[in-house]
Symmetry: C2
Subunit: 107 residues, 2 copies
Amino acid sequence: MGVTKAHIFSVEQNELAQAAKVLAHPARIAILEYISKQEACICNDLVDVIGLAQPTISQHLNEIKKIGLLEGTFEGKNLCYCINQNRWVELQEAFHTFFSNINRNCC
Amino acid sequence: MGVTKAHIFSVEQNELAQAAKVLAHPARIAILEYISKQEACICNDLVDVIGLAQPTISQHLNEIKKIGLLEGTFEGKNLCYCINQNRWVELQEAFHTFFSNINRNCC
DNA sequence: TGATTTTATCGTAATATTGCAATATTAAAT
DNA sequence: ATTTAATATTGCAATATTACGATAAAATCA
């Protein structure tokens, strides 16, 4: 993000931007959509499903983890990823609030 | 964005990611919040309100324009920016759909 | 134990983003 | 016609992102 002056903005503004940044890549959208469609949790079908190399998928998962959107067991073989529902709802509400607080006036 | 392989993802995934990218900077969140709070349209109070240099604000406005979120008259002096309501609602719904289509199962 | 499988990490190349000074452009005001 | 004010554009430095090959780590299997 270059040299963003995060400190001149509010915590809320930075948090929403941070969440948006995680969604700002189609691979991460695709990963979240895929995980959300599985009945059970997934392991590394992602490499095949998404079509990016394994280290790249791992990096993307890490970005998603960093804002708390993933949970599950992360040890050794046969990992299990799933979406943290509470965090999901939190972000959903943050975006909903942002989009709702809009003035209807224009020039 | 480095070397994103956009072509391996769907149009919808790319569009949502593109919209998220615009929201992925606190300055752009702040700009949109500020414009949305004004009764009338704004000109360049933004430089003072946001606290970034004029060229930087201009760049951020351009990013927001590129996804069609701003409208108004854009000529010479005394510009008038406001939010394109239709586009706003479109994005709002895109995010809403994304956040709603989530499976409740986990491991 | 040794081989295999799954995920993470490191290193690095290519590209994108952020921010600003300097400068150009545009339109109104004098 | 000049000056002034508001935006846009250019160029550049600093930093971040994306992607992948190579390799490490961790757990299971034979």
